[in-house]
Amino acid sequence: MNKVFDRYASFIFFLLGVGFMWMSTTISASAYGSTVGPNIFPFGLGALLVLLSIRLFYEVLKSKDQQTKGEKLDYKKFLLIFTAAALYAIFFEYIGYIIGTFLFLLFSFQVLERGKIVKSLIISGLFSVGVYVIFVVILEGSMPGFPSWLS
């Protein structure tokens, strides 16, 4: 249990609840043939979320400060891999599946453990080409294989 996280979470959920309530007042209040419109469900849920977040806030206030989990998080490796994954996702359509996957896998393997570059090269190459062949060639799915400016 992390009190700081819980406190922030209760604020965020409170704001989300208010936001959903406020936004749902702009939705029309009735549907054709019914007095019950599309606004009532999200409005009610938003209200519940607000109530629950207040309750969470009080629970956090009341709870004693428990010790947080001892182990240190390895943010460096995570950020490296996450950034790589984000770049992979953003440029997926430009560089195509095979090149993107190959680069992403190679980079991540090396982040998790340096060295054994040949093995990393082989596994990432086999995986990216293999999946592409199975999916596009055999199953005839559609996936941008190579960048459009290359073929």
Partner: protein, 508 residues
């Protein structure tokens, strides 16, 4: 006799060669998922939805749905078999429903009886699986006949009951579980309203009109969340694997575990039917029961074979029992069944009382294939157990990036837009931080899946009553469901107040 006829039809579906293949792939991957620590049944099933969707692309809509649900269900119950392997050999449970198995299983392995422990786990799972399926076959039709008489108000209250049950048992804090449920329901409202066609919370962004895709959110929260956890906690060192030795259990072993298997199957099945209580709870309860009725309770925790047989039978029976509310009522009782339901809805097949009438091929095909799948699992887990023990040795540093790549590939193959890839990564980060701080994810997914149905039934009920909310209390069935739902939330709170420990279901 009707049921037998349907079952025969089901077998003719399940025995088509491609469905046999799908069932086999499903249970094979399921066993691997169970064996590999770090991927639970939920993330395994979520990860495979997009892949099955692309494999079955060439089939007709109903056949495609049948084949993919056969595969996905195979992953689900296959994981229940596989989870025992690491518990026994490594003392690390492959998934949460095998936590209790470590107590006696690992001790048995240290005494050189790993083989019989694994074998009993497989045999117990098999018997329990058959039992749960037999009950499913007997109960499916009558239950769906009852459920068909439910009106919208009854349905609304029943689904509310399902949500409350899952939230009440889902984590350390009920408040947090409820917040996640409501949040899931709210996320489900994003997009075009199915009744009136009004766009809600879309901010005129085109990709939001179709709503947040369930698949993307589930894969992100579960699969990527767990991967990020492994990276952040630097948790990819291997352990020492115990030697397996001879596999076949002795006559004495069989005699000792016959009772626990039978009791575990019964108990597991009924716990599995209850919404919110899943395989994890079932395995805990059956272990405690065995310890209580045993003549030598002191041998538990020191390698008593009953301590392996009972929980392993119970968790498999529970996964079979959990299919009952999903198939007959259309209400998933746990995170994994919620994901299965999401998969069925993706194929435009609505689980529920009408499923057995409208899509008998899907329902009975699935049931028949589960019978075949359990048989396959017995074969896979007895002679081939040594092969699977090798799977444990897969270096996680290769596995982790590959899971990320599969997630991205799978989501893109189905959604074909960049927005979903970014949403996927966002959900992965959210999934990690939420679970780390005890916000359970299963209620969120359940809310996301049930959201549109709850809302539609509520609005339908309110339309008939002209906006009067009392309709939910005036209909007797609905009132009963609401009262049970309320009790489900209040009783655990009261028990905690009185200082009793409440067993919670971490698997969801």
């Amino acid at each position: 006799m009707d049921t037998l006829q349907y079952l025969a039809d089901g077998f003719s579906t399940a025995l088509q060669w491609h469905n046999l293949l799908f069932a086999f792939i499903g249970v094979l991957i399921g066993t691997a998922v169970g064996v590999l620590p770090g991927i639970g049944p939920m993330s395994g099933v979520a990860l495979l939805i997009p892949i099955t969707a692309s494999i079955t692309g060439g089939l007709g809509p109903e056949a495609a749905a049948t084949s993919s649900i056969i595969l996905l269900a195979g992953v689900y119950y296959g994981a229940m078999y596989g989870g025992s392997t690491t518990s026994i050999l490594l003392n690390t449970p492959g998934e949460s429903s095998s936590v209790v198995t470590t107590l006696d299983g690992y001790q048995m392995a240290r005494q050189g009886r790993a083989g019989p422990a694994l074998a009993i786990a497989a045999i117990g799972s098999f018997i329990a699986g058959l039992f749960a399926l037999a009950m499913l076959i007997i109960l499916a039709k009558p239950l769906s006949n009852v459920a068909i008489m439910f009106g919208p108000a009854d349905y609304f209250s029943l689904m509310l009951l399902g949500l409350c049950a899952v939230s009440g048992l889902a984590g350390k804090s009920i408040t947090k579980a409820l917040i996640m449920t409501i949040f899931g329901l709210l996320l489900a409202t994003i997009g075009m309203d199915t009744v009136s066609g009004v766009a809600r919370f879309t901010f005129d962004i085109p990709v939001l009109y179709s709503g947040l895709e369930f698949l993307t959110v589930a894969v992100g929260l579960f699969a990527l969340g767990e991967v990020f956890k492994t990276i952040l906690e630097n948790d990819y060192g291997g352990g020492r694997i115990a030697k397996i030795g001879r596999i076949l259990p002795t006559k004495q072993d069989m005699k000792d575990s016959a009772g626990p298997i039978a009791r575990g199957s019964l108990l597991g099945f009924f716990i599995g039917i209850l919404p919110g209580a899943g395989a994890t709870l079932a395995s805990f309860f059956s272990y405690i029961t065995e310890k209580k009725i045993s003549k030598k309770p002191e041998t538990f925790g020191k390698g008593n074979i009953a301590g392996v047989a009972a929980p392993e039978s119970a968790n498999n029976a529970a996964s079979g029992g959990a299919m009952i509310p999903l198939l007959t009522l259309g209400i998933p009782g746990s995170g994994t069944t919620a994901i299965l339901m999401g998969a069925l809805i993706m194929y435009n097949i609505q689980p529920g009382p009408l499923l057995f009438d409208e899509h008998p091929q899907v329902a009975w095909g699935l049931i028949a294939s589960m019978l075949i799948g359990n048989l396959m699992l017995l074969v896979l887990n007895m002679p081939l157990i040594k092969v699977f023990a090798k799977v444990i040795a897969t270096p996680p540093k290769y596995l982790i990036p590959i899971i990320v790549a599969i997630s991205i590939f799978g989501v893109y193959a189905v959604q074909v837009q960049r927005f979903d890839l970014l949403l996927l990564l966002g959900c992965g980060v959210a999934g990690f931080f939420l679970t780390r701080n005890d916000y359970p994810l299963a209620p969120l997914v359940l809310g996301l899946v049930l959201g549109p149905m709850i809302e539609n039934n509520m609005r339908r009920a309110l339309t008939t009553s002209n906006g009067d909310f009392m309709i939910f209390l005036q209909k007797p069935l609905s009132a009963v469901f609401l009262i049970i739902a309320l009790l489900w939330l209040i009783v655990p709170i009261l028990m905690k107040k009185r200082g009793k420990q409440v067993v919670i279901n971490e698997e969801g």
